[in-house]
Amino acid sequence: MLKLIAFRIAQAIPVMLVVAVLTFLLMHLLPGDPATIIAGDQADQASIDQIRRDLGLDRPVPVQLWHWIVNLAQGDFGRSLMLNQAVADAVKERLPVTLSLAMLAFAITLPFGIAFGVIAAVWRDTWVDSAVMILALVGVSVPNFWIAILSVILFSVTLGWLPSAGYVPLHDSFSGWLASLIQPAVVLALFQIGYLARMTRSAMLDVLDQDYIRTARAKGVAVNTIIVKHAFRNTLMQVVTVAGYILSLLIGGSVVIEQIFALPGIGRLLVQAIMARDYPVVQGTMLLLGFAFVFINILIDLIYAYVDPRVRYD
């Protein structure tokens, strides 16, 4: 197991390097000169040149790339133009918010998504299946920001049950934290619940079709035991592989949701940075998120190895 962990981390290094290079290229090779954009429409050539020098944009691209990588290796993600703050610090401040939101949404997604998928598969082709699957389909078809606004109108404005905006840190008050996040987290989870339910159903149906399920039936195993003991664990192995994708969807979705509920998270930082053309922040945030996902995927591989004896004993 330890060997596997070391191996996967070693494998992640080139991916992280590629992530870094891609992020860099995204900002530097695409048409449009950051200096001109930063300087604004009215700027004269001198100030544009000044900005370009400040950002090191006057040097050749490979040199810039080299500096970027070297700085990254030293933990330097650059400095924000609008916040007068190191990018790493800006991100560090906002990380707990996004993490809280995403994790809460993940915690809501998993049980509901899996349960709906399993229920639909077990009652395949009955009204239960149809009803659950229509709900799941609606989940993956409705834009979450729109639902968020409708939800705010209902629960915050009309009923007044939940705050419509703002974030309460966890160490200030747990109930405040939960109240500030429960609405955005549920809204955020809707799409993922639908997605996971659809995935789980098809994985479960796949498993129920396998020969070893027939073997279990031939032994006289009861239907419930077949589902819980024989089918579910095999289904779970397939579900684990999409957990990373679901997390990635959650982080992506939180960018939008943070806007609506005025949550001071990374997504909000990113959008603000884009509006203010604060390129170092855009670059740095994307990179950090990219790194985060590389590690999430390692984690998932390891969980997978733990669940599947075929990998565990290899």
Binding site: R214, R217, G220, V221, N234, P309, R310
Partner: protein, 324 residues
């Protein structure tokens, strides 16, 4: 002990129902061995799965009666059926790789049968599993019991399947192509094991295979199925020495021999009809060398040629009567 009467099985397809097995009847006594032979689409496996009612219920329609110990398995409630599965009637399948659950240890999977039917606790079941692994001649059973299926070879996996099936000392074991996925030398080992276990436990065995030689070696009696119907039933030596139905005869002649050099092989012309597109009258008529106009008019009945030897071919039957 087992008496199948006029069993028919239909499956649902896109365009409605198609008949897979038509009007199959046979009986099997205690401590007996029976072989069922046929090519793909003959309905041999479908018949076997029907005994345990393992078809997906939504897409299957079964008619007739399957009497076991005086009760009709087709009308038994699912709960009672479950008590019979694994305890009185057990089954092993063609593909041991996919027939074992990859995430459970083999000890767990073998012990499960005992935990269900004999209410053993986990420790006792594990101990019994070791004993069963010994019985199917897996060396070092105490250590192997915690292995997962992927750690075993194909032959070992099939032995585990057998251990699982015999755990409750069933009275009937149905083996559906148990050696088809295995190598020749391993096939012989498994066959010998099944024969020995049959003696030891005193169970009846139904062996299903496409290989007439294999079935003849193992079973006392053989049924030949073609296109969903039983076309001949005979003691296996009779079947091998003088098959009476033109299909059985052709099948036997079409098999090359490892014991002698034959010239050109006999080949049955044409192809097996697809279910849903079976010809009127006798299913074999379009390929049959003995075909008469009457054969295509109405389906022929299964009739006794001599005691214990039944065929579904009036033409051959009539010829036998005139000569004999």
């Amino acid at each position: 002990m087992l008496q199948i009467e006029n069993l028919s099985v239909d499956f649902r397809v896109d365009s409605g129902w198609i008949s897979s097995v038509t009007d199959v009847s046979f009986t099997l006594g205690p401590r007996a061995s029976l072989g069922i032979v046929g090519e793909s689409g003959s309905g041999k496996s479908v018949t076997a799965l029907s005994v345990l009612r393992l078809h997906a219920a939504r897409n299957t329609r079964m008619r007739g009666r399957i009497m076991f110990d005086g009760q009709d398995l087709l009308t038994l409630p699912e709960r009672r059926m479950r008590e019979i599965r694994g305890r009185d009637i057990a089954m092993i399948f063609q593909d041991p790789m996919h027939s074992l659950n990859p995430v459970l240890t083999i000890g767990d999977q073998i012990g499960e049968t005992l935990r269900i039917h004999q209410k053993l606790d986990a420790a006792a079941a594990q101990k019994a599993a070791i004993g069963l692994l010994d019985m199917v001649r897996i060396p070092d059973a105490a250590r192997r019991v915690t292995d997962y299926p992927h750690q075993l070879s194909g032959g070992m996996r099939q032995r585990v399947m057998i251990a699982m099936a015999i755990a409750c000392r069933p009275r009937l074991l149905i083996a559906d192509e148990p050696t088809t996925a295995l190598d020749v030398t391993v096939q012989a080992q498994i066959l010998d094991l099944l024969r020995d276990l049959r003696e030891e436990i005193g169970m009846s065995v139904i062996l299903i295979s496409h290989d007439l030689g294999l079935v003849a070696e193992f079973a006392e009696r053989v049924l030949v199925m073609y296109a969903g119907e039983l076309v001949e039933e005979a003691p296996s030596l009779t079947m091998f020495a003088r098959p009476a139905h033109p299909y059985s005869e052709g099948l036997l002649k079409a098999i090359p021999s490892a014991d002698e050099d034959v010239g050109r092989l006999y080949a049955i012309p044409g192809r097996i009809p697809d279910p849903g597109r079976r010809p009127p009258g006798c299913n074999f008529a379009p390929r049959c060398p003995l075909v008469q106009p009457a054969c295509t008019a109405a389906p022929p009945p299964l009739a006794t040629m001599e005691p214990g030897h039944l065929i579904r071919c009036p033409v051959r039957l009539a010829a036998m009567e005139t000569t004999g």
